[in-house]
């Protein structure tokens, strides 16, 4: 059951109404049962997995806290993390490792005696594994006090963020699971704003772009692409994945908001970034902070000011972030490229430390802004390409083998250009709509504009969602 399915949207009305009708204590169990049902709707067989992870991690955390700062406590901590990583590796990476090991063996003339493991990828495993790890680390560092199993289960399984994030932290979510807030009409307004905008982003923006991108990235079409096509396809995929993932995050945030729960933001106009680090402060923000807090800071605490190890760790950590996205060399290449961008920016920052005026100069700021955009779009090529060879051909076409014909229909370029303009104006438009809403509310005294104005906007969003209905179009991040 996906957020953009009719059954989900239809079920949400009575589900939310009943939630608010229940006493707060009962709401906790109600949400847990619904979360399990939501996950099981994709396949009951695999619903045991997040429950098993919750159980194992809670047990490890419990024993770890009981043992305190002793070697046994440390063993429980590492054991819990190892358990989660082993489960994740088995389901997500087993075939990747076996396949690559087999290739390595074949290079030495031997024939490996194993085939592929028959294993299906459980939905959202990368997301709830990271949350389980963050629970263990936060418990170890004293940020979680005497966690209850129900809290822990709700933290990992809460259905709005279960399948594709945002990746939450214990301290921002668990306190909200008292569900003690009183219903306020603003929850409905803010929740529906995000939910319905997410539906439009998915069905009207991401899916149609996806059809063009799928066509353009067909391996058979690669050889006929020009430099313009390569860049247009990189931009088109960059826009598709942004709208697709941002739509899911919006729907997750909106659904949670309907129950009075605030989830962290995941996107903040990422293509307006002024530098590579700024991009990571705007793109999949909850993954960025997870990597920063649980990988980057602990690893770099040892290196302090040594640039070599710092750069190596940046590359390594971003390579792992790429691998987190999927078991493929294209994802790793994407992560390494992002790491390289961060390193280059750090080098630039170090080199210009003594000349602060340089950084503020308009041409420099503009240059970094454009370069960041170009670098980010470039990195999407290996991420999306079917093979390494295809990525190499497209990158060559974009940067060295200049050809300027148009091999796609003119509508493709027009649509990409239209979305680029929309993306450029998105923050400004958002602000203007908000201002107009506030001013209308002040003039009419209509609370949250919930009489006529907001419902009309909601109806238009729903109409667009229904008109661009594409049942089989999955969310890209579901495969991660």
């Amino acid at each position: 059951m996906e957020f953009n399915s009719y059954s989900y949207l239809l079920a949400l009305i009575p589900v939310v109404a009943l939630f608010w009708a229940l006493p707060p204590v009962a709401r906790r169990w109600y949400v847990l049962v619904l979360s399990l049902g939501f996950y099981a709707s994709w396949g009951a067989t695999y619903a045991f997995l997040p429950i098993a992870i919750c159980g194992a991690v809670f047990w490890c955390a419990h024993r770890m806290l009981a043992a305190g700062e002793t070697p046994a406590g440390r063993r429980w901590f590492l054991g819990g993390i190892a358990f989660v990583l082993i489960v994740l590796s088995y389901f997500k990476y087993a075939n990747f490792f076996l396949d690559n090991f087999a290739r390595l063996i074949r290079m030495f003339g031997a024939e490996p005696g194993w085939g592929a493991v028959q294993v299906a990828l459980p939905l959202g495993i990368s997301f709830y594994s990271f949350e389980a790890i963050s629970f263990l680390i936060d418990s170890r560092q004293g940020r979680v006090k005497k966690p209850a199993f129900l809290d822990m289960s709700l933290f990992v399984l809460f259905w709005p963020h279960l399948v594709a994030g945002p990746i939450v932290r214990v301290r921002e979510l668990v306190p909200q699971f008292s569900f003690s807030k009183k219903f306020d009409a603003s929850m409905l307004a803010l929740g529906l704003d995000r939910l319905l905008w997410g539906l439009v982003q998915k069905n009207v923006f991401a899916n149609p772009l996806g059809s063009w991108v799928d066509d353009g990235f067909r391996p058979a079409a690669t050889a006929s692409l020009s430099t313009i096509d390569g860049w247009a396809l990189a931009v088109a995929f960059g826009l598709q994945i942004y709208f697709d993932f941002a739509s899911y995050s919006n729907m997750a945030i909106g659904t949670a908001r309907l129950m009075g729960v605030t989830l962290p933001e995941n996107f903040r106009h990422p293509y307006h970034a002024v530098s590579p680090p700024d991009f990571w402060g705007r793109w999949h923000m909850t993954l960025s902070r997870w990597i920063r807090d649980y990988l980057f800071f602990p690893v770099n605490a040892r290196y302090q000011a040594a640039p070599g190890p710092l750069y190596a760790s940046l590359l390594g950590i971003m390579g792992l972030a790429g691998l987190w996205h999927g078991a493929g060399w294209g994802f790793i290449a994407w992560g390494l490229l992002q790491g390289l961008y961060l390193v280059l920016y750090r080098i630039w920052e170090s080199a210009t430390e003594s000349r602060p005026g340089w950084k503020e100069a308009l041409p420099v700021r503009l240059g970094w802004r454009l370069a960041t955009l170009a670098m980010v779009m470039t990195a999407w090529i290996p991420f999306r390409a079917s093979t390494g060879e295809q990525a190499a051909v497209m990158l060559k076409m974009m940067y060295t083998g200049f050809r300027f014909h148009l091999s796609q229909p003119v509508n493709f370029y027009l649509i990409v250009a239209g979305f680029v303009v929309f993306c450029a104006l998105e923050p400004w438009l958002g602000e203007k709509i908000e201002q107009a809403g506030r001013s209308l509310e002040a003039r009419t005294g209509n609370p949250h504009n919930l009489v006529l104005a907001r419902p009309l906007l909601y109806a238009v969003c729903l109409l667009l969602f229904l008109a661009f209905d594409a049942r089989d179009a999955k969310f890209i991040y579901f495969q991660f």
Binding site: E2, W20, W42, V119, A120, L188, P455, A467, Q479
Partner: protein, 395 residues
């Protein structure tokens, strides 16, 4: 119930009621009509004109699911002598009508040139069949012919292949046609074609084969990197049931696709009136795509010669008020290739490119249609074709 809850319930009610009104009103369609009116267009110019669809004469799925059509064709041609079987294949030009400025919509569906030809030859014992699809690539035409010639009862005696320069820009094999790979004997023939790495067509063939394999795996038991058992899952079944129920219960919901057509039509009008970009402009086709299309035509001609099927390639008419070629070498390349192809493989080349006057061409939202004929244009082309085909059939 608190005041906030009442307000929330009222907001949800208003949203659903307004949605119902919007579904019924089709507001974007109304905007499109207003734009056309302001631009001085006749209502017909903006319409998709209904054309005849006869399962005995046409592959009615237009490439989406041709297998069922071919079963019907096999039953029909079973008793027709092979030399009397004529297969027409081509792109949308063969299956669409766009009314000319002086033509008005009639209650009965329009006939395309194929319908006139089929009717004209039927009385002389010839059985025609149209195998067309919008933006049909020559690779797809090859797949079709490879499939049909795999069975004696669907093998034609004469293939009439419609070409235009724009058709060389189409590539790949769509999913509906790739689904023919379910037939194992056909799949084996395509795999043989795909195995030749030097051939320009092997890559699209390999790609279609791989895609088809993935699809078959996905519809089987859950394996590989896909969400577990999704199609059989409760959520999937619930969604199917919900959609079926909503389509029945909510008036206007079943035709929600039309709102998308309205939005795309609005964007098209923006393209025409604001960006001033019209359809069918002159272009040069990318070398790799051109090579793949030429390779497909070579393969079609070779297949026909191998199977003793006569081949007529006819250069379809083009609206004299437009040109499809960006450069003169695009034109000479196209003309020389088709002439050479017919010479090499013993086919017949008919040139109808300049055979229909400008007044008999369709007129759309963006002006004269470069490729789609009006009512009179279809009739004129049909008469010319019958005149030239009849001797080939010994009539």
């Amino acid at each position: 119930m608190t005041g906030a809850a009442r307000l929330a319930a009222f907001a949800v009610f208003q949203t659903l009621a307004l949605l119902g009104v919007l579904l019924w009103l089709r507001p974007v369609g109304a905007v499109n009509r207003a734009i056309d009116w302001l631009a001085g267009l006749s209502p017909e110019a903006a319409m998709t004109i209904p054309v005849r669809r006869q399962p005995d004469l046409h592959e009615t799925s237009l490439g989406d699911a041709p297998k069922a059509s071919f079963e019907r064709l096999a039953a029909r041609w079973h008793d027709v002598a092979p030399r009397r079987r004529v297969l027409f294949t081509g792109n949308s030009q063969m299956q669409m009508a766009v009314l000319a400025p002086n033509e008005r919509l009639r209650p009965e569906p329009e006939r395309t040139y194929f319908d006139w030809v089929a009717e004209g030859l039927a009385g002389r014992g010839v059985s025609c069949y149209r195998l067309s699809a919008g933006a049909l690539s020559y690779s797809e035409a090859l797949w079709y012919l490879t499939y049909l010639t795999g069975r004696p009862e669907t093998t034609p005696g004469l293939v009439i292949l419609q070409t235009n320069y724009a058709g060389f820009a189409n590539g790949g094999v769509r999913e509906g046609i790739a689904a023919l790979l379910d037939d194992e004997a056909f799949a084996a023939r395509i795999e043989k074609l795909a195995a030749d790495p030097a051939w320009a067509l092997s890559e699209p063939a390999r790609e279609a084969l791989a895609r088809h394999r993935r699809q078959r795996e996905a519809s089987g038991p859950a394996t590989g990197a896909s969400p577990a058992g999704e199609t059989a899952a409760a959520g999937h079944r619930l969604e199917t049931a919900t959609r079926a129920w909503l389509d029945r219960a909510v008036p206007g919901l079943a035709i929600r696709d039309l709102h998308k057509v309205d939005v795309y039509s609005l964007l098209f009008r923006a393209r025409v009136h604001v960006a001033r970009i019209r359809s069918g402009g002159a272009r040069s086709i990318a070398p790799a795509r051109l090579a793949a299309s030429r390779a497909a035509l070579e393969a079609i001609a070779a297949l026909c010669r191998e199977r003793g099927i006569r081949l007529i390639i006819f250069r379809a008419p083009v609206n004299p008020s437009v040109t499809l070629f960006k450069t003169e070498s695009d034109r000479t390349g196209y003309e020389e290739f088709l002439a050479g192809l017919c010479k090499r493989y013993g086919g017949t080349l008919l040139d109808f490119e300049a055979s229909v006057p400008a007044a008999e061409w369709g007129n759309g939202v963006d002006g004269p249609d470069p490729l789609h004929l009006g009512r009179a244009g279809h009739k004129r082309l049909a008469e010319l074709l019958i005149e030239r085909i009849a001797p080939q059939l010994g009539l």
